[in-house]
Structures are given as structure tokens and as C-alpha cells.
Symmetry: C2
Subunit: 96 residues, 2 copies
């Protein structure tokens, strides 16, 4: 079974209140050094079988018609997911 | 200026109503073939200067303490962003 990842972010010129709230909260948690935070969306679409060009084309159509609002958001990536991209980052948990 | 990308997804065993709604809507738009959709979050954190190991370590701390809810979400990736990952996917707009 294959998976396609679609990444959607608010356009650079659009205000991102969620990101701003996170950027404001980080120093209060003692996490310094980040000058800006922007929050977007990440979709994982599963298909039976392999991720072919036709599947990617369908995913692009989904990305622009349903998964993003083209007035305020950019589709930044539509790509086949690697196995590593689908699993929790355990290295990251170990260092946290 | 460097950027760190943090990807957060609902844990596999957690119900994802937003993803389910999208999966149900796709065939109504004539987009067939996707068996499951899951929706997560993607954060872009900006830093002055380069993305060092210390910056990644801070980003991991942010990912687990503020950007995700460990009860229902997994941090799937904390990594330095490439230039291509920060821009709108124009190839994708051309084919849409």
C-alpha cells in the first residue's frame, strides 16, 4: 500500500495567528531562538497498490480543490511518502 | 536564516474525523482511489543564522512540549528545511 504526502502552508503574506501564538509561547517554556513560527497542514493519503503518476496527479487535484484554500494557502509539496516519513520519529523521542 | 520543519500526525490508533471527512468528500469531487486520509500539522520554525544541532534540539523540545499532544499525536519529523520545502510547489500548480 502506498501513501502520498501533501503539505499545505499559509501563504507568506497571510497572517498566521496560530503560528504567532506558538512563537509567543515558546520563550515562556524556556525555548529560545525561534524568530517566527508558521503552522500549516500535512495530509497522508493512502492508496491500494503503488503510487503511480496517475495517483500523484489525483493527489495534486485533491490538494488544490479540497485540501487547501488557494486564496490563503500554498500547496508546498505533493510527493510519495517514504516508510520513514510515516512512522513516529523515535530518535526524537529518545533525545527529548 | 534557517528553518526547521516539524511534522505532527495523529497516532495511528486515534480516530481522525477531519481525515475521514476528506476521504468521504474526495469521490464526490470525482477524485477516486484513495482509501484513507489522515490530517496532521506541519510547523515551520525560523531561526536567525544556521540550523545547528542545538537548534534542532530546541525544536525537538518544542515539538514534544508545545506543538504536539503526546496522548493523541506523534512527532514524525524534526528536520532542517531545504529551500525547495519552503516554496509553493509551482510544478504542481502548472499541472493542476
Amino acid at each position: 500500500m502506498g501513501h502520498v504526502i501533501v503539505d499545505v502552508m499559509p501563504k507568506p503574506e497571510i497572517l498566521d495567528p496560530q503560528g504567532k501564538a506558538i512563537a509567543g509561547a515558546l520563550p515562556k517554556l524556556g525555548i529560545e531562538g525561534f524568530t517566527e513560527v508558521r503552522q500549516g497542514k500535512r495530509f497522508v493519503l493512502a492508496v491500494d497498490g503503488e503510487v503511480t503518476d496517475a495517483v500523484l496527479s489525483s493527489a495534486r487535484e485533491a490538494a488544490t480543490t479540497l485540501l487547501s484554500n488557494p486564496v490563503i494557502e500554498d500547496v508546498v509539496s505533493v510527493r510519495e511518502a517514504t516508510a520513514a516519513e510515516l512512522e513516529a520519529d523515535t530518535a526524537q523521542e529518545a533525545t527529548a
